[in-house]
């Protein structure tokens, strides 16, 4: 087979920001080319809630995320194997990334416990005791057939401190070897290891170094975006991207708020995922540059503008805020309409960052974005610090300026 000669993932840096660590890249996968930095919408159970694959293609979405835990339960790997993998099963011709299933178990199942063998859990099916090992995670992910798959990692709460953090980091490294060993489709699928180490800089550094010794095609940064302070959050990202190799893609798991995306692209991250845009859509919220607007609010009742004049999505082309206000709580189609807009918003944000990097105008893009995003509100100090760490200076806040001049 000729396909086995080309690696299932190739990545090349297309442009780099001359100031920050931001970079634009091209990642070529078996099912799609992916232009980075990229946001991957989440399609947990083999569908992005309420959105057709054709609509995602129309939005120029190149890669979506699927959840191994959910897909393993339903439809189950036997069905997925018979279907010839998740791409066929869900009718999505482009790239897919799957997580390992471990995170969902720990966060969704009360009785999950972790030991050296794997994650112990009670089956929601018959309450019997089961075990998800690194090998099983690979087996399921091989059946799903995603272009990129994640190692099973030892997940601890972001705010955990003490020896448990180090144990989890060391175990994650041991488990990546078991995953690499068990991975049966390395010609079609690329396995990413996950950098762990909590909020501890030396642990993060050790983890990156150890993982870089393995034969892998990209890296994920995990264990963040789970309730830690933003000051810790950006520093950990910064530490990791400082050490990760330039020539391989870097994926920051579970991050998707607009301001976080802009900061983390500046810190050198290439890939993101988050349920937020589609989840908030189901609550009647639409993403705009200033954050999000809740269309259920009375003030939108007679607002005859689209969500965003500048947005090119099919929702903004056809519908007013007023109409969306009236159907937000009552018609399920509203969550489809807002999901389309919100995904379009995320993808457009990523596209404008990519273009700014290619023009080498990224620092100015960041300044403009932050001005639009925060308006008259002060820019949070962690954002100023994180951007300053990559030499992007933001103008002082309007409020500070006033006090300074008076």
């Amino acid at each position: 087979m000729s396909s086995s000669k080309i690696p299932p993932l190739t990545y090349k840096v297309v442009a780099e920001c001359s100031v920050s660590k931001a970079r634009a890249g091209l990642m070529t996968l078996r099912h799609s080319e992916v232009r980075t930095p990229v946001f991957m919408p989440v399609g947990t159970q083999g569908t992005l809630k309420g959105v057709l694959p054709d609509q995602l293609i129309e939005l120029d979405c190149q890669i979506v995320l699927g959840n191994t835990y959910h897909l393993g339960l339903r439809p189950g790997i036997e069905t997925l194997k018979l279907a010839g993998g998740l791409h066929n099963f869900m009718g999505w011709p482009r790239a897919i990334l799957t997580d390992s299933g471990g995170f969902q178990m720990v966060s969704l199942l009360q009785l999950a416990e972790i030991d050296e063998r794997g994650v112990n859990f009670r089956s929601p099916f018959d309450n019997s005791e089961c075990m998800l090992t690194p090998e099983h995670s690979m087996q399921i992910q091989n059946a799903i057939g995603a272009d990129i798959m994640m190692q099973l990692d030892d997940v601890v709460k972001t705010t955990t401190t003490g020896p448990r953090v180090e144990e989890a980091m060391e175990r994650t490294i041991r488990w990546v070897d078991r995953c690499i060993e068990a991975h049966a489709r390395d010609d079609d699928q690329s396995l990413f290891p996950i950098v762990q180490g909590g909020l501890d800089v030396p642990l993060r550094e050790r983890c990156v170094s150890a993982l870089m010794e393995r034969q892998v095609r990209g890296f994920a940064v995990g264990g963040l975006s789970g309730g830690e302070s933003k000051h810790d959050f950006w520093r950990m990202v910064h530490v990791c991207t400082d050490r990760l190799p330039r020539g391989k893609p870097r994926y920051l798991m579970g991050v998707g708020f607009a301001a976080d995306l802009v900061v983390c692209v500046a810190l050198g991250i290439d890939m993101f995922d988050c349920v937020f845009p589609t989840r908030t859509a189901r609550f009647g919220c639409a993403l705009v540059d200033s954050g999000q607007i809740n269309l259920k609010q009375q003030k939108y009742k007679h607002d005859m503008q689209p969500i965003d004049e500048a947005c090119e999505c099919s929702t903004c082309k056809r519908y007013t805020r007023s109409y969306l206000h009236h159907i937000a709580a009552s018609e399920t189609v509203s969550s489809s309409l807002l999901s389309v807009h919100n995904v379009a918003y995320q993808l457009r944000l990523m596209r404008s960052m990519r273009e700014a990097i290619q023009r080498d105008e990224f620092p100015q893009f960041v300044r403009d974005f932050m001005a639009r995003h925060f308006g008259r509100d002060p820019i949070p100090s962690w954002i100023r610090e994180a951007l300053a760490a990559v030499k992007i200076e933001l103008p002082p806040d309007a409020a500070q300026e006033q006090t300074a001049s008076s």
Partner: protein, 417 residues
């Protein structure tokens, strides 16, 4: 609105052309697109464009699902179809949502109950006409008491006719006065349950009106919407409809909203009813049934539906209906849609709705073609039997199944032990 009869056949019903405002000519028998809150159920306009390349359909909007928009629409200076995301479409406004059972009761001498998502509102004729004026639809129905079904008492039926007459006096008056309705067409409601006497009285009242008072008829009061319409018996419904049709002005189009089964719908067309809606396709989709009946005469046996909740299709990678050209059947499998049902994913009902609407629109094309060839009776027989040995049951059973954990895949567990 202009209606031109093209042909009337003794056995094959009547073919006509309807022109609403500046629209192109619409062929009757015509299928209206039923909506909820102004949207085709589950589908965004972008998705509906993928289902139908016909860009000037008629949306059947309902006040019971759009009442909350009345004030906003009063401030909207473009067309109603623009507001709901379907520019260029025609709009027809009804009072009640044919997709859902209308609660009974709440009628009074001077008011009609409007059952909405926010509760019940009592509509006087004056209030109703003010709301309609806010909407400014291309076509709308006159206010009527249609709270009757095959079981209604004589007294209830008579009240519905008497009250409707009173409401309509004001509707006719206001229709000519309200500036926002000067381009709208009013449909005269014909009520009276299953009583020939009451129906005749209702029709007489409409026909007494000066010429040009209304542009068509809407026949209601046979059922109280939702799945009730799918349960009607031909032997019960057809005689009373035939009684009405014989007395209606021939040059006016006749609308019968509701989820009549495909078989009953064909019989109604044979009697001379011209306009229907897609609520049957919706009712099937929302109860996880894909329409699979055949409307092209062949030799194979066909079933009315494919039940997507059926475990037997868990690993069936065929489309919902083989040889169907809809987006769902072109790109997705039974197994996938079954999975979406089990996981309560919205996309499941979206894909079913796409298929069912497509199927129903093609059905209407086949109906018109068979009428043009004077072969409606043959089509009716085909739809009745579907090449099986017994009459096919087109009733829609509500889906009350609960997806239990036992339905979860064992594959995961198999992998993890």
């Amino acid at each position: 609105m202009k209606f031109v009869l093209k042909s009337i056949s003794k056995n094959s019903g009547r073919l006509g052309q309807l022109r609403i405002k500046q629209s192109k000519e619409l062929q009757t028998p015509l299928l209206l697109q039923t909506t909820k809150g102004g949207s085709i159920p589950y589908l965004s306009a972008e998705v509906f464009d993928l289902v139908s390349q016909e860009h000037q359909q008629v949306l059947q909007l309902t006040l019971s699902t759009m009442d909350q928009m009345s004030e906003s629409l009063a401030q909207w200076n473009r067309s109603l179809s623009d507001y709901v995301g379907y520019p260029g479409y025609n709009t027809l406004l009804l009072l009640r949502d044919p997709c859902e059972t209308t609660p009974t009761g709440g009628n009074d001498r001077d008011v009609v109950p409007l059952f909405t998502r926010h509760g019940k509102e009592s509509l006087t004729a004056a209030r109703y006409m003010d709301m309609v004026a806010n909407f400014a639809p291309d076509v709308y129905q006159g206010l009527c008491d249609a709270d009757t079904n095959p079981e209604s008492t004589k007294k209830r039926v008579q009240k519905s006719v008497d009250r409707t007459e009173r409401f309509m006096e004001l509707c006719y008056e206001q229709h000519s006065k309200l500036a926002r309705l000067k381009d709208s067409t009013l449909l005269a409601p014909i009520v009276g349950g299953y009583s020939t006497f009451a129906r005749t009285q209702s029709i007489k009242h409409a026909r007494q009106q000066p010429a040009g008072s209304y542009g068509g008829y809407i026949l209601e009061g046979f059922h109280t919407n939702g799945l009730a319409a799918t349960e009607l018996k031909a032997a019960q419904l057809l005689p009373i409809v035939e009684h009405c049709v014989q007395q209606l002005e021939e040059e006016q189009p006749r609308l019968m909203p509701g989820a009549y089964t495909p078989l009953l719908l064909l019989e109604l067309i044979r009697l001379g009813v011209d306009v229907f809606d897609s609520s049957y396709a919706y009712c099937a989709a929302t109860n996880y049934k894909a329409l699979t009946f055949s409307y092209v005469r062949d030799k194979a046996e066909h079933a009315a539906f494919l039940d997507v909740t059926d475990e037997a299709i868990k690993e069936d990678f065929k489309p919902l209906l083989e040889d169907c050209s809809c987006l769902s059947c072109q790109k997705h499998t039974r197994a996938y849609i079954h999975h979406l049902y089990k996981t309560h994913e919205l996309l499941g009902t979206i894909l079913l709705m796409i298929h069912n609407l497509h199927h129903y629109m093609c059905f209407f094309e086949a109906i018109r073609a068979s009428m043009a060839a004077d072969q409606l009776p043959e089509l009716i027989e085909h739809v009745r039997m579907q090449n099986t040995t017994a009459e096919v049951n087109y009733r829609i059973e509500p889906n009350n199944k609960v997806v239990g954990k036992a339905a979860m895949g064992k594959g995961f567990i198999a992998a993890a032990v």
